[in-house]
Symmetry: D2
Subunit: 334 residues, 4 copies
């Protein structure tokens, strides 16, 4: 069975997913929608999907699944709309910036028994998958500490930050999901710190650029997340897991695997600088996993629940910084 | 302009090139030929080229270029045949195992003013390209020594070895080309050693499995090549260049960029084990470079001359081991 | 001028310092004291200091400086006693487990204008010194985040833990000092988490074995400290500092700098497993720095104030875990 | 039993050995000799040996062993002189630059049943010892290829080169010994190349600065040695051994184990730049091994025979470059 796709939103990430759909066996790009006609047409020209409106896609019999790459504030509505059409839905994170809205949306998904996968691409990075496999195979014993260093090469534009929901909901949310994935237990509490160190403009927008978070589970497992909106040496993406029998760590990706040695030392090129280059394989694997789930009628590897829980952790982190205290996850979920 | 391709030979390497053609912008796969009907059809089904015979392809107006992936002993004939059709030719190394035959073939190519690129994929590996750029940018100063470690995970089947022309012409030939590319001067002399250490069967076939070669240029630059048909830890592919101001080295590629630490130490996964996986990007870049050259009517980055010179170095290495002495390249070329 | 030393306490760490004194130019070991006669005599036999009682040493005209390596609960008394004799004092951390007692002790030191250096050996590790120099030379720009991973190979005996003051005062205290050294600004607040994951016995003793701490300065700089009492792969000691222009990181020390590659991957030996082996050079450098300061009448690189501040951070961390909130350092200092 | 030492020659390497003797348990420095009075006195002042003449030392009852650190052309005479006194002899490499003279000298040693250890410090480097242990434990299976990269940071003065016997006898000789140590079989043949690339003055002195050598044993095992008198990035000392089941490799030593990352990449400091710093531990281990052998009346780990064989390999390499051919070791030994 070939899963026939429509991509909603033909911006940067929509193009990434359109390319992934084109390259994944068992998937076909049938349609693409975007209010900006040229954007939609560019995808059509490169990857072959037909330009349609979202409503046309909702009515299209030849579409089995949609990938939602539209602005965040449309995600929940579109999930609800397409859940009711019986089409499988892949939605970029986050479902919404409001936990209440997410909850309502997920009720609809559940009522419709719809298929919903939320895009947490990092779970599909080959190295992180190898790290997870090592844990699952027991090579580090029982998980005790997860350490995540996640730093962007540079901050997004002010306009993006303004609508982002803040660094915890926009950037750390990926790390919250990774931490949940690796801890192997539900997170119970959150403490976080935040500061503005790279650009005062970020502070004027009410956001932070430098944050740290400690998550803790009921049994005491801890995850430490450290984020910065700036890293002069590239896109820093590291995960390390300490267990009772050892540790597993994933290395960064450099622009090239060479070393140049001279009187000043041995130099490796900086890190890959852009999330799409760094996570090219992850995006392709992610769509392939969605295709496999849809084709087999199986559960998707990430779900609406995962999207909600990552957002809840972000809300708890915001509250922790605001109130200078440890916040129980239950406080924001109830 | 789109370069329209036919692939001759639908075996393993033919499939690699068909996939590359499909993915490279500005290239289209039009036809595929193989005496084994299912092999040709498999390429057609996956990548869309039409199954034709070689002669049909030679007569096809809708084919601009061919990629020769047939058995080695057909290469020179096909190069000549297609040179006369005005089609651009990309041929997998080697052109032939006989230097005399190569020379005759190249005369035809030259007479026809045909375009011929010989497939030395390593020059197109992203890391090796970065290494070459570092040299060209003067970051290591004048090149003095090139060190190439090139070890296969395991030996090919006896039947392959029998027809291979021996390790120097089959395996080291890639390293000879890399050495020529990086030395920046013509090689003048060759000394080599060879032994059978991994499997006595290889010796019975009259071949070696463990060889070392030192190339030297007129000014004294040296390249050291070390080959083995067996490396328990994977496909070992390293290059290192010492210059007057420093050194540049390309690292190996592991199955995953993780480390697992325990009481026994810190373990990284073994190296990628298969040349197609290791050089996936190189194969795609190689075809893209050929497409660019054909589209622009420009010189190809590797030529028939490169193919001939690498083979001459192999012949000189064979002679060096046989006679226990340094062999001038001129001895085999004249 | 040669600085003439007496070592008080001939246990494990006393032996380390006696050896360092013997090897440092400009220092001489004159005397050693220990209630266990054989321990004192062993130092005398190996390093040449004469066995005396502490009181004899206090009255000795031929002793310029003492190194206090006795049990923690005697440190403050001995510092006071020797400060009054005009001898320079080097004291192993901590000065005392009670901040009030430390404060009183330091008043005496100040009143006597005595020289007091507190043993924070990590500041003298060659790699950490190189890291600090890189920061001081501006190679990473303004410091933003300090990340310290510090894990012991295994927990000390229950009896040691019982008298240790808890993990924050016993183990993290080193990391608190390193963080203060590298942050370049006073710490203002502390949040911490703690759990028992490696051995329930540690919990029964009222201590944690797995803790994380975030320190924050007034301007928002943050230090993240992660500790565990167990690391199967050896003594894990890493520091990483992110700045506005880059990052500097110190690598771990392995038992040997070799890699063994096989079908299972590439393995480096585990980390040096013992603090004395890992920090051999640091202990020697530390004593050399003390000797230099005493000989020149200069300020010591670490002071009683450093000892007090590290302890205050530990107290704040304890309070943070207890009360589930961010604790201002001023709360414990006032 | 304490082995009582005299050091003959108080230059740079004599000081290294005097320091090693002082620090090794079971060894004592009793005397030092040097025609330059201040040099001898400096050793006496620092390490405590009494200044004596060589002849006085030969007659001294309180000296059990001598370490010969005098100029090369005195080594053989001193070995013979002290062999006859019944004192154990440690001699810096080489015994002599003439193979005939070495042979004569070793006859005397043998006739006197004297103890002679030749200083091949690299065998005592902790990492190389770990590499050797890995081989001996069978972790790489049967040895097939040994690869040695050995590059000096810069060339010695012209005057030194003039008296050195040439790069193969002066510099490569260490690598010849290491290759012999690791191959596990007698070397049968040698091929070598040489050139002048770093400084034409070296050529005017009749020497090379850039050489490569391939050694081969009867069963076909090969060792590849690559040397340069210049490496802008420091003292490059690497060994790698391929076996039937894997590979073991020893890493270089950097000035510090830190990485500084910025927009230009990730930089590690250059390599330790000086053989005494790089091999500090090796020199101490070497003397300790000699002390242990003398104290126990056991065989020394390196012998006069090792010194002779390394020199024979150097002679064969010289002949190979001169005559442009593979040279059997038997040709120079007979």
């Amino acid at each position: 069975m070939t899963v026939r796709f429509a991509v909603l939103g033909a911006g940067r990430i929509g193009q990434v997913h359109a390319a992934a759909i084109s390259s994944v066996p068992g998937a076909a790009l049938v349609a693409v929608a975007d209010p900006v006609a040229e954007a939609a047409r560019a995808v059509q020209d490169t990857h072959g999907g037909e330009v349609r409106t979202i409503d046309e896609i909702a009515r299209s019999d030849d579409v089995d699944a949609v990938v939602i790459c539209t602005p965040t504030d449309t995600h929940a509505d579109l999930i609800e709309q397409f859940s009711k059409t019986g089409k499988a839905v892949f939605c970029e994170k986050p479902i919404d910036l409001s936990l209440a809205r997410v909850r309502d949306c997920l009720s609809v998904v559940e009522a419709e028994k719809a298929t919903l996968m939320v895009g947490f691409n990092r779970r599909f990075d080959p190295d992180f998958m190898a790290l997870k496999s090592a844990i699952d195979e027991g090579r580090v014993g029982d998980v005790e500490m997860v350490t995540i260093v996640s730093r962007d090469p540079g901050a997004p534009p002010a306009d993006y930050i303004r609508r982002s929901g803040g660094i915890f909901r926009d950037m750390t949310i990926h790390d919250f999901d990774v931490a949940r994935w690796l801890l192997g237990e539900d997170v119970e509490s959150v403490v976080a710190t935040g500061a503005v160190l790279t650009d005062p403009e970020i502070g004027r927008l009410g956001d932070f650029d430098s944050v740290n978070v400690i998550l803790q589970t009921a049994s005491g497992r801890q995850a430490i997340i450290t984020n910065s909106r700036r890293a002069a040496y590239g896109y820093d993406q590291r995960i390390e897991v300490l267990g009772s029998r050892g540790m597993v760590a994933a290395r960064n990706h450099h622009e090239a695997d060479i070393d140049i040695a001279g009187a000043g030392g041995f130099t490796r090129p900086p890190l890959l600088n852009f999330f799409m280059t760094r996570y090219t394989a992850a995006y392709a694997n992610e769509i392939a996993a969605f295709v496999a789930a849809v084709a087999e009628g199986a559960a998707t590897p990430t779900t609406g629940h995962d999207g909600m829980m990552a957002l809840a952790l972000a809300d708890a982190a915001v509250k922790s910084v605001d109130e200078g205290r440890l916040v129980k996850l239950a406080e924001v979920l109830d």
